[in-house]
Amino acid sequence: MKLTGAQALLECLKREGVDTIFGYPGGYVIPLYDCLYDFPAIKHILVRHEQGAAHAADGYARATGKVGVCLATSGPGATNLITGIATAYMDSIPMVAITGQAKTTALGKDAFQEADTTGITMPITKHNFLIKKVADLPEIVAKAFHIARTGRPGPVLIDVPQDILNGHLDYKPVEKVEIPSYKPNTEGHPMQIRKAARAIASAKRPVLYIGGGVISSGASREVVELSERTHILVTTTLMGKGAIPESHPHSLGMLGMHGTAYANYAVAHADLLIAVGARFDDRVTGKLDAFAQKAKVIHIDIDPTEVGKTVHVDIPIVGDCKSVLTDLLKKVEPKVASEWNEQIMKWKNEYPLCYKKSTDGLNPQYIIEQINKVTDCGAIIATGVGQHQMWSSQYINCTFPRQFISSGGLGTMGFGLPAGIGAKLGCPDKDVFVIEGDGSIQMNIQELMTAVAYGIPVKIVILNNKYLGMVRQWQELFWKRRYSATNIEAQPDFVKLAEAYGAVGMRIEREDQVEEALKKAMEINNLPVVMDFHILREENVYPMIPAGQSVEDMMGHK
């Protein structure tokens, strides 16, 4: 079949099962955009900023497990994607980013809107390609999707010069991708798995520490089964949230800096830590020498570089979490709940996650509890970054994997709204709540227009403290309350702003208005709703283990 490069590119996307792409046009990609008319099966969502396209593709991928696709023009279009690509990279999200580029003949000559996109994105992509011959296009696209979705997933960028889009090729679909130098190992070593089973059998104080790898490999059921069979309690990272229903009696919630006191106590006293699809991030471990000091460590991860990167591992198992856990379950004998379980429950009763209800202001935690209530814990939650994100991670009660969508590794403010839009497009049957800060929302507020234009009914909760609250909290606790550059009282009227975009706006200041507002938002199904909740200005996120410290230094628990 004779096709142009642009046609072949869209044909390849179709073959990969792409139904939605998020993008923004520009000079060098006009041929591709023109061609979109002929591919009605691919829905293009025109965002209002390329960063929004990258986060939306990311949110789509997190919610569905499919590869998210974003598209931008060369130069400034490509550089505007950067934050979004880096966000996906840090959280191992499968994504393919396609960028336009100056003609191959002009490359390296500072052509108009030329940027060294593959050079710039080298450290923030799993891999990237610059297409130099149109005949290579189908194979490169197939490789890009293969790399993005296999092994440890991640973003892959394809840079496509304009003359490649306009060129012609004899198109043949790629049947099989062969990359001799890329062969991720998915199966765990049987001997290591036997060792792990033995360690589990003999452990007196085991804990399961579950990360995002469990979500991406679809291993939640195996985690729950392992926990139920052995009565080993489960703590998750921010990325692992939803791997076990948080109402499950074996769930200890999140661990780490703002994790529950009891999850952190459990890890601190454990004699066996079973890490699955987690990477011992510093927000989890705090001071490394003090982290899980008494524990033998089993580490299951698909990426060999993560094993032994920061902590010593006694039983490394490299492989896909689902495959390894399935094999492990064949070897693990049932165990009964022990004194250790009682001890953890005692901590849970003694140091529960809690907050002081205020009489002269609205508690953010209360609002989040009400979201659980009105959604029956069934909505997808996308968050920005800041205190509101941490309150969400603490108080949103997750019931299924891929429910909680948040920028963990990079901590990208402005992530929530576009990611929520992507999630809603990926899962149209689910309600999507976006929980944002008054600072964070303003970093991609323009995507409100996208949501209105396509009638995407995301429900946006702004926890408005008129502060860059998380930074202010650190200033309060560690910098003598010198609130340098964190007061953002100068802010738009979010209700009017929502209305200006054509969305629905509400302002909520009292507790008795909360449930009603949320319920009202739940009934609006053709437009985004912005709920501007004016919360206590100086409420803090607790408990907190200050950066680089240990569980002994925990603040604000009970």
Partner: protein, 161 residues
């Protein structure tokens, strides 16, 4: 601890940038790096000398393997190898000193490959230590320019990576 490693990579533009970028980004220090094509035109071979503790080397090896364009990584620690480096040394060689310098070159089985009124250019091949040694011997005469290829290495015997 110094390690010599061989990295086989796809012979593609940008691969060197991926490898060197990885070292820079992760704070690994390259002591020397030699790159060239091989008998297989689709594969390039890098010989990299790095220093670091065992755990650092383990990370480097794994991180390199993770690069999509890297086909094979081999750390020659505890593997018998032959290794060579080539250096060219341009050294002051006034008439009165020439005999001495030629004698030194002889001892190291080095060759004088260029000559001018005031200088010799000496070519030496061997281990890093040997190159260091001749450099030390020549430095009193005044080294004007020194260029080294960096180490290349191969396993002894029939084995290949």
């Amino acid at each position: 601890m110094q390690h010599t490693m061989t990295v086989l990579v796809e012979n593609r533009p940008g691969v060197l940038a991926r490898v060197s970028g990885l070292f820079a980004r992760r704070g690994f220090n390259i002591e020397s790096l030699a790159v060239s094509s091989t008998d297989d035109p689709s594969i390039s071979r890098m010989t990299i000398v790095v220093a670091g503790e065992d755990n650092v080397l383990e990370q480097i090896t794994k991180q390199l393997r993770k690069l999509v364009d890297v086909a094979k990584v081999l750390d020659y620690q505890d593997i018998p190898i032959v290794q060579r480096e080539l250096a060219m040394i341009k050294v002051n060689a006034e008439a009165t000193k020439r005999a001495e310098i030629m004698q030194i070159a002889d001892i190291f089985r080095a060759k004088i490959i260029d000559i001018s009124e005031k200088t010799f250019t000496v070519e030496v091949t061997g281990s890093n230590e040997k190159v260091n040694a001749i450099t030390n011997m020549l430095s009193p005469y005044g080294i004007i320019e020194l260029v080294r290829t960096g180490r290349i290495a191969m396993m002894r015997g029939e084995k290949t990576p």
